[in-house]
Amino acid sequence: MELHILLIFMIFAAIVAIEVKDLLSSVIAVGAVGFALCLAFLILKAPDLAITQLVVEILCLIILIRATINKDLPLVIEGRWIFNTVSTLSFIAIFLLFAWLALKELPGFGEPIMAVVKKYLQEGVSKTGSVNIVTAVILDFRAYDTLGEATVLFTSVIGIMAILRRPGRKKRE
């Protein structure tokens, strides 16, 4: 019941974030969506994810505000606006119709099948010695994925340093 209320709040905040004209207001609305997502993770019994989502959301807000401060843009409606909007909305309606038909095949909410995880749960503490099962999965059973994620973070730091560099050249006399 609480999850339904949280999801409807998130949809309203997302619509506000997309439609409002001021850039700073839309960034703050995206922050509201992120904090509501952290609450949803807590209700779904996932404390690891709630801590990570909260601090990552704060850092993402700081970076977004740095990019949009003092930079605004007036709204201009040019021709063929009605045709574009109607075609986009009809595409989204067809997508949601097929999604409704496909979601009936999933197992119902609250009764997962858990065929793969039974082995991780039964042997997790005895094979790894760690009490937190999520840490045991990401650092012992599936440590290769964590290595890939460390590589992606490293690549992104190198990429930002390469894009925002001020090249200095020494003049040769």
Partner: protein, 112 residues
Amino acid sequence: MTLYFLCLMLFCVGLYGVLRKRNLVKIIVGLGIMEYAMNLFFVLLGYRFDGRAPIVARDQNILNMVDPLPQALVLTSIVIGLAVTALIISIAIRIYEKYGTFDITKIKKLKG
């Protein structure tokens, strides 16, 4: 069942933002909303009624936990989402310095 459908509606709001907006920052905001919706969908798949958080305690039943495997995958996805957002924001800052605007219909010139 309605929870899955509401999650996909949040995804569609983000998709509308990416397709129809002309301001570059609005496109980035729509991309972020799509990432949040997909992370939530993954964690919704693994919930169990009357389950416990996946941390072992000394005196509790061990087979009563929620599914920890989608939580491990989503933990990776949240941090990668932050890295992609930071990179795309730095590209947007560079575009603003070069062209003076965030409007995507005015930055079509491919100069050398």
